[in-house]
């Protein structure tokens, strides 16, 4: 499983990076660009298999250390990754039996 976490500055917080990027885009001619907010993206590989447990853990981690609730908001999703393991359902592929005319 993989946690994909997006951390963004709260709306009330001054975002000079965002403003600078907005100005840069305007100078480059992208004239229908409004406010820009620069945040953070984290990918965390999770070795467990309990999705609900992973969600709770990541929520806790986001709140405790990965984000600062005073100045940041966060959202995340837990993505199942394709990986062969005994806990994953095995997909059986049946091929039609072919009889060749001899």
């Amino acid at each position: 499983m993989k946690a994909k976490i997006i951390i963004t500055p709260k709306k009330a917080v001054l975002d000079p990076q965002g403003k600078t990027v907005q100005n840069a885009l305007a100078h480059m001619g992208y004239n229908e660009v409004g406010a820009v907010h620069v945040g953070k993206y984290l990918e965390i590989e999770l070795t467990g298999s309990d999705r609900e447990m992973a969600r709770k853990q990541m929520d806790d981690a986001c709140h405790k250390i990965l984000s600062n609730p005073v100045i940041e908001d966060y959202r995340f999703e837990i993505e199942l990754t394709l990986r062969s393991s005994s806990s994953q359902p095995r997909i059986a592929i049946r091929t039609p039996s072919t009889s060749w005319a001899t």
């Binding site: 500055p9 009330a12 917080v13 001054l14 990076q17 990965l66 600062n68 005073v70």
Partner: protein
């Protein structure tokens, strides 16, 4: 200053028998994730929090201030300077209140000329917190110009209300972005910073005289 000090490594789990703790500046953990975000979980920080809970005096300077905010020992947070520049220069501080263990020896009309050196020194807190800080007299120092006026030009990093340093409600934990320890000797260009340490020492010596332990 005639007192003894010892260095405590961040991995130590005990402070030993100290009267005050100073968390210095630096770039702990490379400022990765957020400044002070990882250092605030260092083993020694549990001891620091317990020390503060018992009334012990704690002063955070620069990265130390950032760590105290991340640890929730002081309200608010420090974010990137609004100029996006690392500012390394002398600034002036006006002491907002002499009613604290960190400011009681500073003459109320004296401006402190102290250097700053930071890229993330912009103090932020929501309106409710800012109002509470003002109401409780928790703002210790503000950035001012040479004439003592709180102006936008005198603000080197965009800190809300020109806040340079604050203390907690119990007034035993404080933090500031400027470096008073770099303004303690004539050869460094200013000795104004020494007044902050004088205040700390005065508070502790008075507490000793009254035999009222500051830290249990």
């Amino acid at each position: 200053m005639g007192h003894s000090a010892r260095l405590v490594w961040h991995k130590e789990s005990s402070l030993g028998d100290v009267d005050a703790v100073i968390i210095p500046g630096g770039f702990s953990y490379g400022d990765y994730l957020r400044t002070g975000a990882i250092a605030r979980f260092s083993p020694v920080m549990q001891a620091v929090q317990q020390f503060a809970a018992r009334g012990g005096l704690v002063l955070g300077i620069c990265n130390g201030f950032q760590i105290l905010c991340e640890a929730g020992m002081l309200p608010g947070a420090l974010i990137r300077n609004r100029s996006l520049q690392f500012r390394c220069e002398h600034i002036f501080l006006k002491t907002a209140t002499t009613d604290s263990p960190f400011t009681n020896q500073i003459p109320s009309d004296k401006l402190l000329r102290i250097p700053i050196a930071h890229g993330e020194g912009c103090y932020f807190a929501d309106d409710e917190t800012l109002s509470r800080l003002e109401a409780n007299n928790q703002i210790l120092w503000r950035y001012v110009d040479a004439a003592g006026n709180v102006t936008d030009d005198a603000n080197p990093n965009g800190s809300l209300r020109n806040i340079a340093g604050i203390c907690n409600e119990k007034r035993n934990v404080a933090g500031l972005m400027p470096h008073p320890e770099r303004a303690c000797e004539e050869i460094l260009g200013s000795t104004d910073g020494k007044l902050i340490f004088d205040s700390l020492c005065q508070t502790l010596m008075e507490a000793e005289r009254q035999s009222a332990p500051v830290a249990a």
